[in-house]
Symmetry: none
Subunit: 257 residues, 2 copies
Amino acid sequence: MSNCKRKLLSTERESLILKALGEGVSTITELSAQLNVSEATVRRDLHSLEEQGKAKRIHGGAVRVKFPQTEPIFTEKAGFHAQEKKSIAEKALEYIEDNDSIYLDGGSTILPLARMLDSRKNLTIVTNSMMAAAELMESQHRLILLGGEFRALSRTLVGPLTQQIVNTLHINKAFMGTIGFTVDEGISTTDPGEAFTKEIVMRRAGKVYVLVDSSKIGVPSFAVSGSINDIDTVITDENISPKLVKELEDSEVKIVF
Amino acid sequence: MSNCKRKLLSTERESLILKALGEGVSTITELSAQLNVSEATVRRDLHSLEEQGKAKRIHGGAVRVKFPQTEPIFTEKAGFHAQEKKSIAEKALEYIEDNDSIYLDGGSTILPLARMLDSRKNLTIVTNSMMAAAELMESQHRLILLGGEFRALSRTLVGPLTQQIVNTLHINKAFMGTIGFTVDEGISTTDPGEAFTKEIVMRRAGKVYVLVDSSKIGVPSFAVSGSINDIDTVITDENISPKLVKELEDSEVKIVF
DNA sequence: AAAGAAAATGCAAACTTTTGAAAGAATTTT
DNA sequence: AAAATTCTTTCAAAAGTTTGCATTTTCTTT
């Protein structure tokens, strides 16, 4: 190196330094010799590179920084019934075909489903769930987030504002989570704003699938979304009681377990 | 190069300069010798090229910039000029008061600002940035996400769908990021959908603050959002040129640095 | 075609940034 | 703990930039 006839500009030096760093480290003395500049200048260049996040200073030299630290994305709280939820999601996945336009609701039951969507092609995915969106950020599908007020507890976007976007979209199949589920009242949740969003989604969606693990069945929550009539299919696990299966079938709801 | 007997027109020189720059850099002295003109003329040509966004001046020479200006991937951008961005964000923070209703745009310059908002109380924060939303998830403020199509590169929600929510909200102060900034065209970005969202936000916001580090100034990108008239205040770092300060003041834009 | 206006160019003085050297503080090694 | 190395700060010289002005070139107008 250093067949430099003329003085180098700072940017040239910086890229040469990066090249010299390669994968490993270089000392100030080495770089100073290679670039034919004083050590003070090397330090200054290194400082600039560090500000740009391209290199990191260490005592006596510098190291290349590879790919800058990946941002802290949403973290998932380790879940109850994780295995059941995953198997419920697998059943739901079978109803999703290439080119579908689907809605993913919030909730820990829907999240595993979001992770499986790489097996489908060219989906349009509409969601109000920040967690699902974070999962799908890197995917190849088209991703649309409902706007609205952020609800910290469920990490979803809820309330009247969500209505506007929902009403302009055509949703083929909606996959809904829930806090409570009863045959009389259908799905219910703790927050009225969230219930409202669920309701307008269900009303507009072509087909509505409710994913619910058996621990929530028979337990009503505070705010009800729509009625049992808005639901086409309930997808749940094997622990569901035969009595409930019959009740659902009487209400013309398909049930998968 | 250029054994030119007759004198060259400025446009001819400029294209020769661009050719000489190639992908790399050239010094003023080199260019002056190659083109048989004084260094003063080279500087003037380079200045003109810079205004056109085709080259970027650096001390002692110039580098070629590709057009349209490419957008670095998000994680790369995060570390770039990190210190400047933080100090820009600190200046912007002073314009945010308790109970304000503010908009946070996408971009790595706005992100540090999101992190500082704990020092204010009872804000209503509207944003189209997933990263900003992730930062603000735990905060006490009211958080509203614009809906819309998710754009992976910038991790923002963009496009026509965003318009609906923006139009129903009252935004007190909007804090905008940008990929490129020129006095002639104002802020510009790489994606038309993103430009669209920026534009409708700026049009509806009471006051518009643009946060831009000096490396982006004078560099236009592909899709322009609104005009310089939509901007009330530009917040930048100390490296801004006095000339630009004057130009902005002539356009009745307040400038903070 | 000549005179005048406008634009471009080169030059030089004042100013700014960058660079290298040196001194003292901080860190690592022996 | 002493020695050696490296880091930070400061300062002056060198290199680069800006600005105003005189000169040349180019364009317009008569």
